[in-house]
């Protein structure tokens, strides 16, 4: 926009490898003061890694960085921060046990000369000054754990601005915010830009870019595939650059036929998390659940699967089942592919074979709990072929597979268990486009076979393209059921992020 501002940052030929895998491949990137430069790309395209290089998290990247007129090498967070770089992560880096003022001033507390007494008044004074300068509505003495996520984000911004940052990076800040909070955040970002700051805005939500960005750089598979001024490009161009091909080729044709009701959820509630959730799921149906991160969508399916406590009734094939434990659901034929693959899905350190069979061991065990290794291996082999896990090696430890192949193993676990209902919570998080397309085809195939599918995703396009019906969850309540597919991504997002009346 304002051409009179000079270049703040220029990164050239940045390369970063993780145990031999190239995550960033000769990436060039630059930002000017008074500009919002967006970085977009699929999960795993290297957006966050690029910013982590800037944050000083790695000391083994290659390439050159020029910041504020000087050539620099950023080796640790302290150095990045002293230079004037601040990053607002999606998972906010705040101290829940500290007050707003203490969080804003963290790392710059002053101490008296001899007795080393920390100056608490200057902490709240300087924090108040920063809050006033930004015209934020925050109470410096409030404990951070009482603030909503949006307001915690403001605290982080205030902390960064107080330190005279020159470059402020936002890493997917809108993923868990409602639309009103997003409007306010955008206003804040524009104000900061008008003060002359250089701003990097990372997102995978293309729809919001025209509202906020001046320029856009697209990353794909660790490479920068292009930089464009937002005024001279179409969203569809960006999509193509981001995915490498058109959207249409990725999603399979819808050909599943929903049949009889198999799962019925009635007035499922968990105080403070979600309330009065009722819906039905039919065999051969794909039911999408859309909502913001933190809306309660994950908690709802976890409750159905028996992983969290909740009140209410769940009927499976017309018979009420006690919502008690994953163990029970598993034996009935309900499976869940959890949101966090690393923490909740993988049995890390164990081979693929065991990871595939873990849910059926109870069913397969013979006398004295004997497990026939040959039978287990042959079942796993079968599943690996069906899921086309690559490399097809039963003995490999699961964490050494790529993200997409790990996910295939987790899905295979429930196919091996002959589940009739499979819950997918963010199944395509952090996996590449090719595997995503396979995953979509697999979900569609399962539905065609008559399995009932519940699909949760932040990538609303997945839901709008795959689901037969869509439930909108907002603040723990089921606010709307949208039939059939005639909704597009933007409409869905507007519905999820809308502010509740009253």
């Amino acid at each position: 926009m304002s051409l009179n501002y000079c270049e703040i940052l220029r990164m050239q030929n940045i390369v970063k490898e993780f145990s031999g895998t190239r995550v960033l491949d000769e990436v060039d990137f630059d930002v000017r003061g008074g500009e919002v430069h967006a970085i977009i790309g699929e999960n795993g395209a290297g957006k966050s890694t690029l910013m982590n290089v800037l944050a000083g998290r790695f000391d083994d990247y290659r390439g050159s960085i020029r910041f504020d007129g000087r050539d620099v090498r950023i080796c640790n967070p302290r150095q990045a921060r002293d230079m004037g770089i601040a990053i607002i992560y999606q998972e906010l880096n705040v101290l829940p046990n500290f007050t707003v003022a203490e969080n804003i001033m963290l790392g710059d507390e002053k101490a008296m000369r001899w007795i080393r007494k920390m100056d608490r008044t200057s902490i709240s004074d300087e924090a108040s000054k920063a809050i006033k300068y930004l015209r934020f509505d925050l109470d410096p003495d409030e404990p951070l754990s009482r603030l909503s996520k949006a307001r915690q984000c403001l605290v982080e911004i205030a902390g960064a601005v107080r330190r005279n940052v020159k470059l402020l990076v936002f890493d997917e800040p809108t993923a868990s915010l409602g639309s009103e909070d997003i409007d306010k955040l955008f206003q804040v970002i524009k104000d900061l830009r008008n003060k002359g700051l250089a701003i990097v805005y990372i997102s995978h939500r293309l729809g919001e870019l025209p509202r906020i960005a001046d320029r856009v750089t697209v990353l794909r598979d660790g490479k920068a595939v292009g930089t464009k001024s937002i005024s001279e490009c179409e969203i569809s161009d960006l999509t193509r650059m981001m995915l490498g091909h058109d959207l249409g080729e990725i999603f399979p044709e819808k050909k599943n036929r929903p049949g009889k009701t198999i799962l019925k959820v009635n007035a499922l509630s968990s105080p403070g998390v979600f309330e009065n959730i009722s819906f039905e799921l039919r065999a051969g149906e794909i039911l999408g659940i859309a909502g913001l991160v933190g809306s309660g969508r994950t908690e709802i399916v976890r409750a159905i699967f028996g992983a969290d406590k909740a009140s209410g009734k769940v009927e499976f094939r017309g018979k009420p089942i006690p919502v008690r434990s994953p163990n029970l659901c598993c034996s009935l034929g309900i499976g869940m592919v959890p949101e966090n693959r690393k923490l909740e899905g993988n049995i890390t350190g164990r081979p693929v074979c065991e990871n595939l069979n873990i849910s059926i061991l109870e069913r397969l065990s013979g006398a004295f709990g004997f497990q026939s290794p040959r039978r287990l291996a042959s079942r796993a082999q079968c599943m690996i072929e069906r899921m086309s896990v690559d490399p097809p090696d039963l003995k490999m430890e699961i964490q050494s597979l790529s993200g997409g192949n790990q996910q295939k193993v987790i899905v295979g676990r429930w196919l091996a268990a002959d589940s009739n209902v499979i819950i997918f919570d963010e199944p395509t998080q952090g996996i590449d486009v090719g595997t995503k397309a396979q995953m979509y085809r697999l979900i569609m195939d399962l539905a065609c076979e008559g399995k009932a599918i519940i699909l949760i995703s932040s990538e609303l396009i997945e839901i709008s393209k795959l689901a037969d019906r869509i439930l909108i969850i907002r603040n723990g309540r089921l606010v709307r059921e949208m039939p059939e597919t005639e909704t597009d991504e933007d409409e869905l997002f507007a519905e999820c992020a809308r502010k509740d009346k009253g």
Binding site: N97, K117, R146, S148, K149, E180, G272, A307, S325, N475
Partner: protein
């Protein structure tokens, strides 16, 4: 942004906070009830001799280590090696005093105290390097150093002989650390030296934790180490110092123990590290850190001592005392877990 906390978590947090206070209060109430019960059943409980001479003096040495442990645990760490460290320190004290006894009591005692302090801090620093710099899990590190330090104490005493300072005059001078009585209300109300030392350590500890930047960062690291690191806090150094402080408190406690028993044994204080950790946890500093404090630790130390004292007064056997102490720890920590609503099947 919108003032109403949209996420359901916000309400939950407020509930947790008030529960947290409830837990603190419940310990104090428990302490008060126990004391009331004790004074009702046993007239000697509230006597100066029992409360100050017996209960507090006995609690002082472990209480001092608990102060150091509180720093480590608020920062999210853990130290199993404190009892072994203390054993090494008391052996070093005796050995140095013995070898320097010809230079006179002042030189021998001050040199021994200085050297022991350095030893205590250095052993703590070994833990600190492995945990803070190398990044090994604190449980594993201090479990190993617990064994290593104990072994060192055994080697120094040639396989566990009880060591005494040979020079009786020197020994008696050193015992001043335990025997000295400081009158506060005339001759009948005196407090012993260990209590004075404890109050000093507690006071300095409280100052460090509550009023200095170092203490502020201890809480920051326990709350979210990554955030503190990214904010430019030198988390490695702060953690390192916390383990060194803990080692220092071991050295101080060793001096008190030695003055009390006059002998240093390589196998003394075995299992006491768990008593120390227990009093810190019972006080309200959670495993994992981020909250808690020294006042909390003080209530924890007192609670466990009062229970022990009570059971001794009723001549309950040591085996039952262990059962009761164990149960109290489980109950207090269970209340904490329930209060945080983490109970998941």
């Amino acid at each position: 942004m919108s003032k109403d906390a949209n996420n359901p978590g916000a309400g939950g947090n407020r509930r947790t906070l008030s529960f947290k206070r409830l837990q603190q209060a419940s310990i104090l109430i428990l302490l008060a009830v126990l004391c009331a019960f004790a004074s009702f059943r046993s007239p000697t409980f509230f006597s100066w001799t029992n409360l100050v001479d017996n209960l507090l003096t006995n609690a002082a040495a472990l209480g001092i280590i608990a102060v150091g442990m509180t720093f480590v645990m608020i920062a999210g760490g853990f130290d199993l090696s404190v009892a072994s460290n203390t054993a090494v320190c008391s052996v070093v004290l005796v050995l140095t005093m013995d070898s320097l006894s010809s230079y006179g009591a002042v030189v021998a005692i001050s040199a021994a105290l200085l050297l022991t302090t350095l030893v205590g801090i250095s052993l703590g620093a070994i833990n600190g390097v492995l945990i803070a710099r190398v990044g090994v899990n604190p449980f594993v590190v201090t479990l190993s150093t617990m064994l290593v330090f104990r072994g060192i104490a055994l080697i120094l005493t040639r396989g566990g002989q009880a060591k005494q300072v040979a020079d009786i005059a020197l020994r008696n001078k050193f015992n001043w650390i335990y025997d000295a009585q400081i009158p506060i209300f005339g001759q009948s109300y005196q407090i012993s030296m260990p209590i004075v030392i404890f109050l000093l350590v507690f006071g300095i500890g409280t100052y460090l934790l509550r009023f200095t930047r170092f203490g502020h960062y201890i809480f920051a690291i326990g709350g979210n180490e990554e955030a503190a690191w990214l904010a430019g806090v030198n988390t490695h150094r702060i953690k390192m110092i916390s383990y060194m402080l803990c080692g220092l408190t071991c050295a101080i406690a060793a001096a008190i123990f030695l003055a009390m028993t006059a002998t240093a044994q390589a196998e003394s204080h075995m299992g006491k590290e768990l008593d120390v950790i227990a009093s810190v946890i019972v006080g309200g500093t959670p495993l994992g850190g981020g909250s808690g404090g020294l006042t909390a630790t003080l209530t924890g130390v007192l609670l466990l001592r009062v229970i022990d004292n009570l059971l001794t007064q009723f001549s309950v056997g040591a085996e039952y005392r262990k059962v009761v102490t164990g149960l109290i720890i489980v109950i207090v920590v269970t209340v904490d877990v329930l209060a945080k609503g983490r109970s998941r099947k």
